[in-house]
């Protein structure tokens, strides 16, 4: 007598477990989707604003900019059909009036503690850096993180000619590629310089090819 009853109650419990978990899952899913849809416009606006502010800073207030995508080692104005644009490597081309003034490029490499993410403006016609801004870093507070806050160091990247060369404070001969490093944060300073040099070395052929193909981007 007991065995069938036990089996039956087991079956009902199993059904009940599935029902409870399924119900909870459905309610949870509904709540999450609602919150996601409600916050989505603001989150996307925040992100777009942050990207725009960074581009405007490193290209010194362009009138407008367009987003280019790196596809098969070439720059394209449109992402390939079906590709998720946000996952592609992007560079930005800024214009003042009808003339292109330079590319804004993001880069990330190892710093003192972890990756340093930064964005910089690059004028391919003269081979100079227009401006630089660190986007994200975990450098030592008070020392390495001066690469973000030290306005003197950030100003060093204002129209400096590639390839960049780091020199210690008070040294150097005022040659156009010199960047004065922060005392006490030499490794972080050097990392920023290395990141920009490496990035341009890799991207220059792509940028040049794009400019050659597009007369208005010269």
């Amino acid at each position: 007598m007991r065995a069938p009853a036990a089996a039956q109650s087991e079956a009902t419990t199993a059904a009940r477990l599935v029902k409870v978990l399924g119900g909870a899952g459905a309610v949870a899913g509904l709540a999450i989707v609602t919150a996601f849809l409600a916050t989505k416009p603001r989150i996307e606006a925040n992100r777009a604003r942050a990207v725009q502010a960074a581009i405007e800073e490193v290209l010194r207030q362009p009138d407008r900019y367009e987003t280019l995508y790196v596809v098969n080692d070439r720059l394209a104005a449109q992402p390939p059909a079906g590709a998720d644009a946000s996952r592609l490597e992007q560079v930005y081309l800024g214009y003042r009036g009808a003339t292109a003034i330079g590319f804004a490029v993001t880069a990330a490499e190892a710093g003192f503690q972890d990756l340093i993410h930064l964005i910089f403006g690059y004028d391919p016609a003269t081979g100079t850096i227009i401006g630089m801004r660190v986007l994200d870093n975990r450098e030592t507070p008070g020392l390495g993180d001066k690469i973000v806050r030290d306005s003197g160091f950030v100003a060093e990247f204002d129209s400096v000619v590639l390839p960049l060369r780091g020199v210690k404070a008070g040294q150097g001969q005022d040659s156009p590629g010199e960047v004065h490093m922060i005392t006490g944060a030499t490794i972080s300073s050097r990392a920023v310089i290395r990141i920009i040099n490496n990035r341009i070395q890799r991207l220059r052929p792509l940028l040049d090819a794009y400019r050659a193909a597009r007369p208005e981007a010269r």
Binding site: A28, G29, I32, V33, A35, F36, D84, R87, A110, G111, F112, Q113, D114, R138, T140, T186, I187, R190, A191, R194
Partner: protein
Amino acid sequence: MGELFWILLSAMVVNNFTLAMFLGLCPFMGVSARVETALRMGAANIFVMVLTSLCAWALNTFVLPHAPYLQLISFIIVIASLVQIVEMVIKKVSPALFRALGIYLPLITTNCAILALAIFQTTRGCTLVEGLVFAVGAGLGLTLALVLMASIRESSELADIPALAKGTALVLIIAGSLSLAFMGFAGLLSGG
């Protein structure tokens, strides 16, 4: 190859999960009294982290592009279920291994280091191989921190410590010193 080595060392020492990022502190406080248990806990951690990395990669590749808002829920549910299934399998297949690692497996599921691994792997956009290397590095780092802590606690067992400082307070202060020592690894990877 250089890139993978960087990921491994970064996760293991420079950005050690426990001593630099404060992740996985519960086992660090709880099972660091004996070197033997610390080693087993570490091994179980490496194992679960590798599994987690695989799961996170699969979810990121096949599921989450269609439903990004499910990230957190799917990570936690998939990881917890998988660990439970693996636990059952190990129990069936190798009772010896289960006796060595088994009791730690359920503990690990709710360990923040595991979920953090999945989240970091996602925000950094790791490929499958990078994710696996990252998982092994992070797991080795946890093991290293656990074993170091256990060795210090074992040798301080007979020391004359004020009753007030026994327990967690002492562990935290030792952890502070270890963390200070691990700061010396910074700069190891920037090559400058």
